[in-house]
């Protein structure tokens, strides 16, 4: 299986690669080349840092068009992690306003509750009520590792799961081939490895 980790210059790709190796994925490619992305069985969109800067990098590399082609037209499974999950939504309030890739109907805003420590850092429990394929074999309220200052919301049914910190927000979605997790499965011990294994096997 060929998994391409989309490289747009922002993200701790090493931990993701290490987790995929551990799960015995034989062909792991870190790339932003159209050929690699088009020939992948599955894609991972990683990312840490600024939404605005990430979108600028993605556009500069023409990745928005390539990703649209393979994800929306060809329905290739893609997993967005942390910022990667947010980027596939409509927009973010970060640095004012920034458009996303618009694959998913969601918006991102800053944590804004008095006396709440931001960023939201550490393991937190994820609530999922349906049998999402991403969480197969995992119990509701399993712990995953988070580190972020912006949170996702949506009025639509995007098969979302939730987490509570100050308020309740979306921490994963599963819309056909388009998947996103706010937490870092590659940094979430056996729970995270299980989720990545589900992405490899169930999509």
């Amino acid at each position: 299986m060929k998994i391409v980790i989309v490289d747009y210059g922002m993200g701790n790709i090493k931990s993701i690669t290490s987790a995929l190796k551990y799960l015995k994925v034989d062909d792991i490619v870190i790339s932003n080349k159209p050929d690699d992305i088009q020939s992948a069985d599955k894609l991972i969109l990683p990312g840490v840092g600024s939404f605005t800067k990430a979108m600028a990098n993605i556009k500069k590399l023409n990745l928005d068009k390539i990703l649209h082609e393979v994800v929306i037209e060809n329905k290739k499974p893609i997993l967005g992690i942390c910022l990667g999950m947010q980027l596939m939504g409509q927009s973010s309030e970060e640095d004012g306003f920034s458009d996303g890739l618009k694959f998913i109907d969601s918006n991102v805003k800053k944590f804004n509750i008095k006396n709440l420590k931001v960023p939201h850092v550490g393991f937190n429990q994820v609530e999922f009520y349906k049998d999402y394929k991403l969480y197969k074999g995992l119990d509701n309220l399993s712990d995953f590792y988070f580190t972020h200052s912006y949170q996702m919301h949506s009025d639509q049914n995007i098969n979302q799961s939730f987490c509570e910190y100050g308020d309740k927000f979306i921490v994963s979605y599963e819309v056909e081939n388009i998947l996103g997790v706010q937490f870092h499965p590659e940094l979430s011990q056996t729970n995270g490895l299980k989720l990545l294994e589900n992405f490899i096997k169930n999509f």
Partner: protein, 256 residues
């Protein structure tokens, strides 16, 4: 519910890992030795996070440090925060590329505000941890930089206010007096200074046993407890401590 965290701090010096005793380093072994004797990958399953600090005195040799980090990061599926000697954007990039999920800054917080701001802007505040080494002298909290060799004129309280302006993601508060003693955390200082800090706080320095970790975790404003005590906790010490702490009903993550 957001869990509290137990963090292990590995002190690295010129290719070796050390046991720190009041900031004096005692050489313990190389990475191979650490793996062989302590099966580090197994120990990581009792931890929420790992911090690796480069305490090499003369030459930080970032390249060798990054290599060691890269080897250690394989098969460790928890966040790794790395610091010691970061002076440029390239230093930070080298560490991020070799398995760091966050960077830990200390001296540059005071000496190079522009660098800190750039790091925060490029990697996000959640990727930047501020480490503070402090001592209590005549009942006053004094901050030290440059591996604990240079005392600042600023008081700890003022320094904390100053750090608020840098938009950093987390705070690592290390008592140099308690460091490596195994006598317990410096709760007097911690309780006095951490109220009102609006970012997650990790306390370090002094933990020698399970009950010290528990006392730290019980403080509402403490988000994580760190220990660098290789001898007391490595082996199955930490695994046993975690089970004991969970059995007391403390709010820690569980994984299958």
């Amino acid at each position: 519910m957001l869990r509290k965290r137990i963090i292990f701090t590995l002190i690295y010096e010129n290719g070796f890992f050390n046991q720190s005793r009041n900031f004096r380093l005692q050489k313990v072994g190389k990475l191979r030795w650490l793996e062989k004797n302590y099966k580090f990958q197994d120990i990581a399953f009792s931890l929420d996070e790992l911090i690796i600090l480069n305490a090499s005195k003369k030459d930080k040799n970032m390249k060798l440090f990054a290599e060691t980090l890269s080897n250690l990061a394989d098969d460790v599926f928890i966040p790794i925060a790395v610091g010691g000697g970061i002076r440029t954007m390239d230093d930070a990039k080298l560490l991020f590329d070799n398995g760091a999920d966050k960077i830990v800054l200390n001296t540059v917080l005071f000496t190079d505000k522009a660098l800190v701001k750039e790091l925060v802007s490029v990697y996000g505040s959640q990727s930047v941890v501020a480490s503070i080494d402090y001592k209590v002298i005549d009942k006053q909290f004094k901050v030290y930089i440059q591996d604990g060799t240079k005392k600042l004129d600023m008081k700890l309280e003022e320094y904390l206010d100053y750090l608020k302006t840098l938009n950093i993601g987390e705070l690592y508060l290390n008592s140099m007096d308690k460091d490596g003693t195994g006598f317990g955390y410096d709760f007097d200082t911690i309780n006095k200074v951490i109220k009102g800090i609006n970012i997650p706080v990790i306390i370090a320095g002094g933990a020698g046993n399970e009950s010290h970790l528990i006392s730290g975790l019980e403080i509402p404003d403490v988000n994580a407890v760190a220990t660098a005590n290789l001898f007391n906790f490595i082996g199955d010490g930490l695994a046993k401590a975690r089970v004991g702490i969970l059995n007391k009903g403390m709010n820690l993550a569980k994984w299958k």
